[in-house]
Amino acid sequence: MARTPRTPPLFLRPASYRQRRRRDAARLLPVVGVFLILLPVLWAPQDTFHRDTAPDGIYLFVAWAVLIGLAMLISRSLTAPEDEDDGAAPVDQDFGR
């Protein structure tokens, strides 16, 4: 419960700075995902008559694989044991088990 009123430092040490940017990346990733997945809408495949199931399918699967790879990198770096200084409270204890 100790929420100290100290003003947070204006600049962070490199380690915590990196940690924060990694979190930003984690927040950004779904936005990137939505962009990549909505991109085919712009090609408007319903208006064209060339055979686009195969190329579109390959594009979507590649984009999907890239997203998975990025998610793996980010989640690995986020869960690496690294104690940061900005307020992730300790996990609530599991009482009485």
Partner: protein, 895 residues
């Protein structure tokens, strides 16, 4: 394949799953969780997202509308790679508040409101019916495709009969699986492990069929691409509205589906598993979808045009004569359907029992809430709910005709559960969300969904007359179910999704903006929204000292089970610096107990049950304001002070207890001294008097004999008293010699019962024993242990004041210890005396001169200490109850 062999292989597969679940549960019971709680198992269990819809329906979907089926898997992918936004918070809240279901989450967020619990439960049950019907339909279809008549003329039953058998079998299986033990815990290790196994089976099956299609039937990827280009679905129609709408619906569903919530939040054992699942679950979806298009293309190319594309996964290997592969595919589809139905119906049954049955029962008979056996009721209602849920699914299957494309049915369910999304997401991010807003939003959304999508799905004239479709109810054109507000050009699914979500959100926001939340609601809102900022310390609602700890213990035992409740209370008491099983009812303790109970019966019910005992929770808006206005500095300072003060209070309490004990002991010792001198003097006086008479001589021989016997009896009494004292001092010094050996517990109890029957032989006692449990061999000093048993049984015979006295002896083995409880049905020992009974010379009543000098239990305690065990008084058992605990194997001390 002959029908009967098919049924047999299904049964064999189910039995195999059952064994897996059973083995996992056993492991978990022994506390060896290990890999049962690994990120791998967690990710695989999440794969119940892929049901028969994915396994069979996705191919059909691809054959009908090209790549659109991918939205169903890309939506969840976005939600999972964006876990840092929503999922992380949900899982943290779920763990902190011990959430049991999605209904519980929404109900606790909005002030533990029962109304919301009921609304969410009803929506979830209704929305699940098409989904369960989908599973029944796919299993039934696969049976009819796969099964052939046997040689002896035993032909497969019709599809309707198959469906009812499948529904019944699944219900039975789920009940056996999910509500097997009387423990009302919400984490099911057995099921999660079985689901993980099924996840592997369906992935392997689908990939095997895919590899067969791409590398055996076609000549590798390049050839496959050429075939796709040549097929009917070479030019797919991406409709931007449907593409985005389905992405949204699938993303919402992966959070809101009751079964996904169950495995993702309720069964989550470690938050870090979510980080792994954030990429591993999308990877699983990726692998599941990879071969869908090739299978669909090959099916369209090779199979007759009237073949059902939903069954290509099965019919393609069959048509190519690959029996084994087809069997694998069949089992994969069977796995997908069974795992979904099991988890979904367990999740729904939990919601129904916690949010509908329990509250109704509490209202009907509030007095029995604390005394009746709640666990039995909970389990029974869960079992019935499972049956009802499957019955509804079957009814939907029959009503909808069982012929619709699988994907179309599944999407109806997706849009239905998406109605939880505004209440849930706003609830965890916006403190201004209120109960009334949530209730309004979900009700409006649900009604719109039912009117525009669910009811029309039965077809015109089934529920909604065809005329209403054409002209609207009462001729009001802008209320037509497929063209609300005159929007007639939209795709029906998109139309329903758009209007239900829009009206839901608008109603929710308007309701929230215009209403004022109650105190508990504001408290919960703050706790949810700021779950990462604070530890669990929210302002507390329970006032000190209103509830009797013994009543609380009795109630908790009914819900959590005797052992768990006693352990919990003992730990709490120890934390407060008290010995025994009854902690003080401090607000802290009450809050923890409530949360613990909420883990079994849901937040709203737990809160209501606690209120029965402790009176209303007293939180006022002023309390909240006070908490909020205190500056953080003061809070930290006071926190430090508080912890110091707590430490002091704890020490002071320990001191006070010790002091009280000492005082009472000193009074007792005085009393004992006078008593012991009395006890010693009475026989001495008679011995002296009679021996004086004897020395005078001149007596008839029969009188001499008589006096001699009196002298002898009195001398015996003296000796017994002195023996007891001696025994005690030997035991206390620890110089006693133990005769260690293996002996059977049952025989020891037999011996003790036989010896103790001499005490008050005129009273007839009913003895209730558990012979199978007693059959344990213990390495200990049997004579000493029997001595303790005799003492306890004779005490019960002496002091139990019930008219029809009963003694229950129950034995339990836990870890390396055996506990033996002796529980009678008398009035028990008053609370203020419980701490003293094991002290020397303590005797509760004077009216019964029972022969001893109050040394019995003191000796018992010393004996048990020498045997490496304990003897304690168990409060709250409805009579005097003693628990003897001994180690299974007593090792001789080295020293």
């Amino acid at each position: 394949m002959p029908f009967n062999i098919l049924v047999l292989s299904c049964l064999a597969y189910v039995i195999f799953l059952f064994l897996v679940a059973w083995a996992a549960e056993r492991r978990a019971d022994r506390g060896r969780l290990g890999w049962l709680q690994s990120p791998l198992i967690y990710t695989l269990s999440l794969s119940i997202y892929c049901t028969a819809w994915t396994f069979y329906g996705a191919v059909g979907y691809a054959a009908r509308s090209g790549l659109e089926f991918l939205t169903i898997y890309l939506g969840p992918t976005i939600v999972f790679i964006g876990w840092w936004w929503i999922l992380r918070k949900l899982v943290r809240i779920g763990r902190q508040q011990r959430v049991t279901s999605i209904a519980d989450l929404i109900s606790s967020r909005f002030g533990k409101s029962n109304l919301l619990g009921v609304i969410v439960t009803i929506i979830a049950v209704v929305a699940a019916t098409p989904y369960i019907a989908l599973q029944l339909q796919s299993v039934t279809l696969s049976f009819s495709v796969f099964a052939s008549p046997t040689d002896d003329g035993f032909s497969p039953p019709g599809t309707e009969a198959t469906a009812i058998w499948v529904a019944g079998g699944l219900a039975l299986f789920t009940i056996l699986f999910g509500t097997r033990n009387l423990d009302a815990k919400e984490q099911h290790h057995g099921i999660v492990t079985a689901i993980a196994v099924e996840a592997v089976v369906k992935l392997v099956a689908l990939i095997a069929v895919g590899i067969f299609v791409v590398w055996v039937m076609a000549d590798g990827p390049a050839d496959m691409i050429a075939r796709i280009d040549a097929s009917d679905i070479a030019d797919w129609n991406l409709q931007p509205g449907r593409w985005a709408g389905l992405l949204f619906a699938a993303g919402a569903a992966v959070i809101c589906l009751p079964r996904m919530f169950q495995v993702m939040v309720v069964e989550n054992a470690d938050e870090r598993h979510l980080a792994t699942a954030s990429w591993a679950f999308p990877l699983y979806l990726f692998a599941m979808s990879l071969f869908i298009v090739p299978i669909a293309v090959m099916g369209l190319e090779r199979l007759p045009s009237n073949a059902n594309p939903d069954m290509f996964v099965l019919t393609l290997p069959l048509a190519e004569g690959q029996g084994t592969l087809a069997m694998l595919a069949f089992l994969g589809g069977f796995s997908s359907a069974t795992s979904m139905v099991i988890v979904e119906s367990i999740a729904l049954a939990t919601m129904v029992s916690n949010h509908i049955v329990m509250p109704v029962w509490l209202r009907l008979r509030p007095s029995r809430a604390v005394s009746g056996d709640v666990r039995r009721l909970v389990l029974l209602s869960r079992r019935i709910s499972i049956g009802v849920v499957l019955g509804l699914g079957y009814a939907y299957y029959r009503l909808s005709g069982g012929s619709t494309a699988l994907a179309a049915i599944g999407l109806i369910a997706f849009v239905g559960v998406a109605q939880f999304l505004p209440a849930m997401v706003f609830g965890i991010f916006w403190r201004g969300a209120t109960r009334i807003g949530a209730a309004l939003g979900m009700t409006v959304g649900f009604l719109v969904w039912a009117y525009t999508l669910f009811l029309p799905s039965f077809g015109p004239d089934a529920v909604i007359p065809a005329m209403v479709f054409a002209e609207g109810p009462f001729g009001i054109g802008w209320l037509r179910p497929r063209a609300l507000f005159g929007v007639a050009t939209m795709d029906p699914l998109l139309h329903a999704l758009f209007w239900s979500m829009t009206l839901n959100t608008v109603a929710f926001l308007t309701g929230s903006l215009l209403t004022f939340p109650g105190p508990v609601e504001r408290m919960q809102g703050a706790a949810f929204v700021r779950v990462f900022d604070t530890t669990s310390d929210s302002p507390r609602g329970w006032e000190r000292g209103l509830a009797e700890p013994e009543d609380l213990l009795v109630m908790s035992q009914r819900i959590m089970g005797d052992e768990d409740a006693l352990t919990f209370f003992e730990t709490e008491a120890k934390g407060q610096g008290k010995a025994g099983y009854l902690p003080d009812p401090t607000p802290d303790f009450m809050a923890r107990l409530e949360r613990r109970l909420a883990g079994s019966v849901g937040a709203a019910t737990a809160h209501a049950m606690m209120s029965q005992l402790a009176g209303r929770a007293t939180v006022t808006v002023e309390d909240l304001m006070a908490v909020a206005s205190e500056s953080a500095q003061i809070m930290e300072y006071s926190a430090r002070l508080e912890s110091q003060q707590e430490e002091l209070t704890r020490t002071a309490r320990a001191l006070r207890e010790a002091n009280e004990k000492l005082m009472q002991l000193s009074i007792q010792k005085d009393a004992f001294l006078s008593q012991i001198s009395h006890e010693l003097r009475t026989p001495m006086t008679s011995i002296r008097a009679f021996s004086e008479i004897l020395t005078e001589g001149d007596l008839p021989p029969e009188m001499v004999a008589n006096y001699g016997r009196i002298i002898q009896d009195e001398a015996k009494r003296l000796t017994r008293l002195l023996d007891d004292l001696l025994d005690l001092s030997v035991l206390e010094n620890g110089t006693v010699q133990l005769n260690l050996g293996l002996s059977n517990l049952s025989q020891m109890i037999d011996r003790a019962l036989a010896s103790a029957s001499h005490t008050k032989p005129e009273r007839s006692f009913t003895i209730d024993r558990d012979l199978p449990m007693e059959n344990i061999f213990i390495r200990t000093d049997a004579d000493r242990l029997v001595q303790v048993f005799i003492n306890l049984i004779s005490n019960a015979r002496k002091y139990c004041d019930a008219q029809y006295p009963e003694l229950r002896i129950s034995v339990r083995q836990k870890g390396g210890r055996v506990t033996i409880d002796f529980i009678d049905n008398g009035s028990g020992i008053p609370k203020e005396s419980q701490a003293l009974i094991f002290e020397k010379f303590a005797r509760l009543t004077d009216q019964t001169r029972a022969g001893g000098a109050g040394l019995g239990l003191a000796i018992c305690r010393e004996v048990m200490a020498n045997l490496g065990g304990t003897i304690t008084y168990l409060p709250g058992q409805g009579g005097a109850a003693f628990r003897v605990a001994v180690p299974l194997r007593l090792e001789r001390k080295a020293a």
